[in-house]
């Protein structure tokens, strides 16, 4: 954290340095938008295992990580990936086959948990979920919680409102803070110090970053400090939260990056079809992984296989920020 001036490094090095077997991790983005896909694929290539993933609604990145067997524990609100996979396929399969430990929250609860981590408080309150099975069904047992210092003692706690019926609430749900070992996000612009500017919706990226012990930022454009300082109102993440900056153009592909490119619905469908592989040997799915992940040395090589035609097809229109009239299946 001491060297604020230059945090630029190759993505491969950043993943090696900050993502370890067993790390507690979160990734930015939401379903098919702004997932740090280059980093996700690099984690898979580096064969990092036993990750504990905190997700609100990461779709594409989540399902690739689960498909590659990187995740052993998952806390999550929603696993869907748009039209190609209303429920993430490898996610559902891993639960149906008892392959991962998982625990369900709502989207707001997970967002609040990151926010609590960012704020440095042990919990935040909400009125969400009272009476639901989210409160009663705990994915992680009390004994497992006790034995792992990185997991809170309780999934959540319900208390009587200490201020009577102030705000017309008799009871309040407290959800525990998350402080991941590492969060990885993909943004439109960053400078060498790590200050970031996200265009369009930021989802819970800002809270995830501020809650994390270490942060890797991948960016479409690595810009000069001066460019970002001209409009501080657009920089949601100041450099003090960031550990590493990696310049990875199209680093969100095949998810969308507002103002740069759209999601590639063809690629997402291709992944979905492969992920649905019911075959015991998983030939189809392995073939997909071998071709697009293991068979390439980095994201640039991956994009070369995808081909310029697809990349041109999803290019964002400068007016709208997405690919106008793109064929979407």
């Amino acid at each position: 954290m001491t060297n604020h001036l230059n945090k630029v490094m190759p993505l491969k090095q950043a993943i090696e340095q900050y993502v370890k077997n067993g790390s507690h991790i979160s990734i930015g983005g939401f379903t098919l938008n702004r997932n740090p896909m280059a980093a996700v694929y690099e984690i898979i290539r580096q064969n990092i295992k036993d990750l504990h993933l905190y997700a609100h609604s990461n779709g594409t990145g989540l399902d690739e990580l689960i498909g590659a067997g990187c995740i052993s524990k998952l806390e999550i609100a929603y696993a869907g990936n748009g039209k190609a996979a209303p429920t993430c396929i490898r996610f559902a399969r891993s639960i149906q086959n008892n392959e991962i430990l998982f625990e369900d929250y709502s989207n707001y609860m997970m967002s609040l948990r990151f926010m609590a981590g960012a704020m440095g408080v042990p919990f935040l309150p909400t009125l969400s979920g009272l009476g639901s099975d989210i409160l009663t069904k705990w994915g992680f047992s009390r004994s497992m919680r006790k034995s792992d210092p990185k997991i809170a003692d309780k999934k959540l706690a319900v208390i009587d409102n200490p201020f009577g019926d102030w705000a017309e609430a008799s009871k309040v749900v407290l959800v525990p803070a998350i402080n991941p070992d590492i969060t990885i996000i993909h943004v439109q612009k960053a400078d060498a110090m790590g200050t970031c500017s996200i265009k369009g919706l930021s989802f819970a990226d800002i809270e995830q970053v501020k809650a994390s012990k270490n942060v890797i930022v991948t960016c479409e454009k690595l810009v000069k400090k001066e460019e970002l300082r001209q409009n501080p109102d657009l920089n949601q993440i100041p450099f003090i939260h960031v550990s590493a900056v990696c310049h990875v153009p199209m680093g969100g592909y095949p998810t969308a990056v507002y103002g740069h490119y759209d999601y590639d619905s063809k690629y997402l469908r291709k992944f979905a079809i492969a992920a649905k592989d019911q075959n015991k040997n998983q030939d189809k799915f392995k073939k997909y992984q071998d071709k697009y992940i293991y068979g390439v040395k980095d994201h640039e090589a991956f994009l070369a296989i995808v081909g310029q035609k697809r990349i041109d097809a999803i290019k964002a229109d400068p007016r709208t920020g997405y690919s106008v009239n793109m064929k979407r299946d």
């Binding site: 929603y78 989207n107 707001y108 919706l201």
Partner: protein, 259 residues
């Protein structure tokens, strides 16, 4: 129209849901048919309603239909692009939350309007796992009115949910309040057969409207629990104007309405 019928089941569902939306409402919308209902309401009966996504976009200009609530199409020309924490706060906050009407889907619903979007079978080892709550549990906890969009099938209208993801009237009567929730949850269920509502005292679902050509009996046949149909009347079918606006202005390519 490509069918001989005057409207398709999807069209009448969309119009029925749109009629639930009042002028000035803030419509918490997902994608697909729920968004189409929100767009129909804005174009037909509630011109000052506001479409709002859990991802934080408010009043976006939807030049193209988004396929996800994180679709870049919802970021264009919005009043504000905020964060997840902001969007849920807008609903949890009573000042704005009171104006929100949500449109939700589910795999299962019970007689008290509780929803399951998590799994079929045991939670820990399910037969089928779904996407999970997302913002569903949150909005059903916070806002006074939710519309559930469902296909009317016995396996979906069940006596007991496999998992209670999003609270409706919980056990009925006062149980929502006793749990600590404000009044709210699913207030209308719009299916391909009719429109159900909930009794104020008991919190139980009853049949309010059946569509032309559908009988209350047919609806009961497709519902696992026993539902009061004694107050049911036939729904006013979509008007020509409603259908024209839906077809020509909201989904001219029939991306959601289908062919």
């Amino acid at each position: 129209m490509i069918t001989a019928q005057p409207y398709t089941p999807k069209e009448i569902m969309t119009i029925m849901a749109a009629r639930e939306i009042k002028n000035g409402d803030i419509v918490f919308s997902g994608t697909g048919i729920s968004m189409l209902a929100a767009m129909a309401a804005k174009n037909i009966n509630a011109p000052e309603s506001v479409i709002f996504f859990e991802t934080g976009a408010i009043d976006s200009l939807l030049e193209e239909l988004p396929f996800a609530v994180a679709d870049p199409r919802i970021m264009y020309w919005a009043a504000s692009n905020s964060r997840l924490t902001d969007s849920f706060a807008t609903m949890q906050n009573k000042i704005t939350g009171e104006k929100v009407i949500a449109i939700l889907g589910a795999a299962q619903i019970d007689i008290n309007g509780n929803l399951n979007t998590t799994c079929i079978g045991d939670y820990f080892s399910p037969e089928i796992r779904f996407s999970g709550s997302g913002g569903g549990c949150d909005v059903a906890s916070f806002v006074p009115r939710c519309i559930a969009f469902m296909q009317h099938e016995k396996r979906k209208f069940v006596k007991k949910l496999d998992y209670l993801t999003s609270p409706g009237q919980l056990g009925g009567s006062n149980s929502r309040r006793e749990a600590g929730l404000r009044p709210g949850g699913v207030s209308a269920v719009v299916t391909n057969l009719g429109v159900m509502r909930f009794d104020k005292d008991s919190g139980r679902m009853y049949l309010d409207k059946f569509y032309p050509g559908i009988t209350p009996e047919k609806i009961l046949e497709n519902t696992e629990f026993k539902m009061d149909v004694s107050k049911a009347t036939q729904a006013d079918p979509p008007t020509k104007t409603e259908l024209k606006i839906l077809r020509e202005d909201c989904d001219p390519q029939r991306l959601i309405l289908g062919r």
